[in-house]
C-alpha cells in the first residue's frame, strides 16, 4: 500500500481552505500519512479556468456567507468573514515557502496562525507587515523573513508552485490529492478520510 504524502493545495484567502487546514493533519495521521502543504494563488488559477471568486457571484455570495458560518459551527472552529475579502495571498504564500524550506513543521504552524489571523481576527494578512508580525509571534526572524519575501528566488518558488498546481488540474481551494486522486472542497474531507482507509 502506498504511503506517499498527501498534497494539500490551498489559498490563504479561502475560508474553506481554512477549515481544511485545521482538519487535514489529523485525518492524514489517522491513516499513517504525512501532508505536504502547498499554498497557491487562486487569482492566477481563476485566470486559466475563467472563474470568479464565489463571493462576487449574485445569489451565491449571500449563500456562501451563511454556509461558512454554519459549517464553522459544525466543525467547532471560530470564524468570521473578513471585512476585506477576498485578498491577494502573495505575501503569506511567499512567507510560507521561505520558512518551509528550512522547517516544514514551523511553516505549517505559520500557515495556521496566518489563517486564524485572517479568519478570526479580521486582520488583512495580504499586508506584508501583518504576515511578518504573525511570523514573529512564532519566533521567526522578522527581518530575515522580510528579506526573503522580497527575494527573487522565493518569488520564483511560489510562481513555480502555482504553475505546477495548474498543470496538475488544481482549480480551487482546498484541493487535496491522494496518490493521484483529487478531492476539491472542505466538503470532501469525509471522502478523503474514507479514501485513505480504502479507495472504492
Amino acid at each position: 500500500m502506498s504511503k506517499q504524502p498527501i498534497d494539500f493545495y490551498f489559498d490563504f484567502s479561502s475560508p474553506y481552505g481554512y477549515f481544511a487546514a485545521h482538519k487535514i493533519e489529523d485525518i492524514a495521521s489517522r491513516h499513517g500519512r504525512s501532508v505536504t502543504w502547498r499554498p497557491i494563488l487562486l487569482g492566477a488559477v481563476f485566470k486559466v479556468s475563467g472563474q470568479q471568486p464565489l463571493s462576487t457571484i449574485p445569489l451565491k455570495g449571500d449563500y456562501m456567507s451563511r454556509d461558512l458560518g454554519r459549517t464553522a459551527r459544525l466543525l467547532g472552529l471560530p470564524f468570521q468573514l473578513p471585512t476585506k475579502f477576498p485578498i491577494a495571498s502573495t505575501a503569506p504564500s511567499r512567507a510560507f515557502y521561505a520558512v518551509s524550506d528550512e522547517d516544514p513543521a514551523l511553516a505549517k504552524r505559520l500557515a495556521l496562525a496566518l489563517y486564524d489571523t485572517y479568519f478570526t481576527q479580521d486582520r488583512d494578512i495580504s499586508a506584508p507587515d501583518v504576515t511578518l508580525d504573525v511570523a514573529a509571534t512564532l519566533g521567526i526572524d522578522r527581518s530575515k523573513l522580510e528579506r526573503q519575501i522580497n527575494d527573487q528566488a522565493v518569488k520564483d518558488r511560489l510562481r513555480r508552485e502555482v504553475e505546477s498546481a495548474i498543470s496538475r488540474g488544481v482549480f480551487g481551494s482546498p484541493y487535496i490529492v491522494i496518490d493521484g486522486e483529487p478531492f476539491w472542497g472542505s466538503d470532501r474531507l469525509d471522502q478523503v478520510e474514507k479514501w485513505l482507509a480504502r479507495p472504492w
Copy 2:
C-alpha cells in the same frame, strides 16, 4: 417545533440533483418531514447569476466527471455521465408539474424514473417523446400528458416556479430549504440531516 415540508429544488439535468432525489425522502421521513419537490430550469437561473454549467469550465469539468463517479459509488447509486450533457429540462419539468397537481406521490416516482432514465440509461429526457415514454411505464396516460406539456397553463406553472425559486435565492441544484434555511449541493445532505435533528 415546526413541521413544515422541506422544499427540494432540482434540475433534471443535474447529476447531484439525481443523487439527492434518491436520498431526500428517507432523510426527511426520519425526522417526520414531508418533501415538496420543485423541478426548476438551471439555464434560467444561470442567466441571473452569470454562471456556466460546471462541465463547461476548464479543469473543473474533468474533475466533475471523476467526482460524480466516485460519489455515486459511495452512495451506492448506479450512474453514468450521459452522452448529451447538460440538457434543457423543460419537457420533464412540465411533465412533473402536470402530474403533481393530480397526484404528488406519482409525480415523485416519475421524477425518479426520469432521473434514472437519463443518468443510468443514457436516454435524452429533454426529448418530449422520451419523457412521455417514461411516464407511460408508470401507467400515466401518454396522450393526456402530451397535451398537458404543451398546455399554456402548465408552461406558465413551470415559469412561475422558476421565477419563485430565483426570487428566493435558489442558484443551483440540488437546493434544499428547511424552515427558511438553505442548503446547496448533494454534499450538504449530511448537514440537512443534522439540521433536521437539531439546528445549530
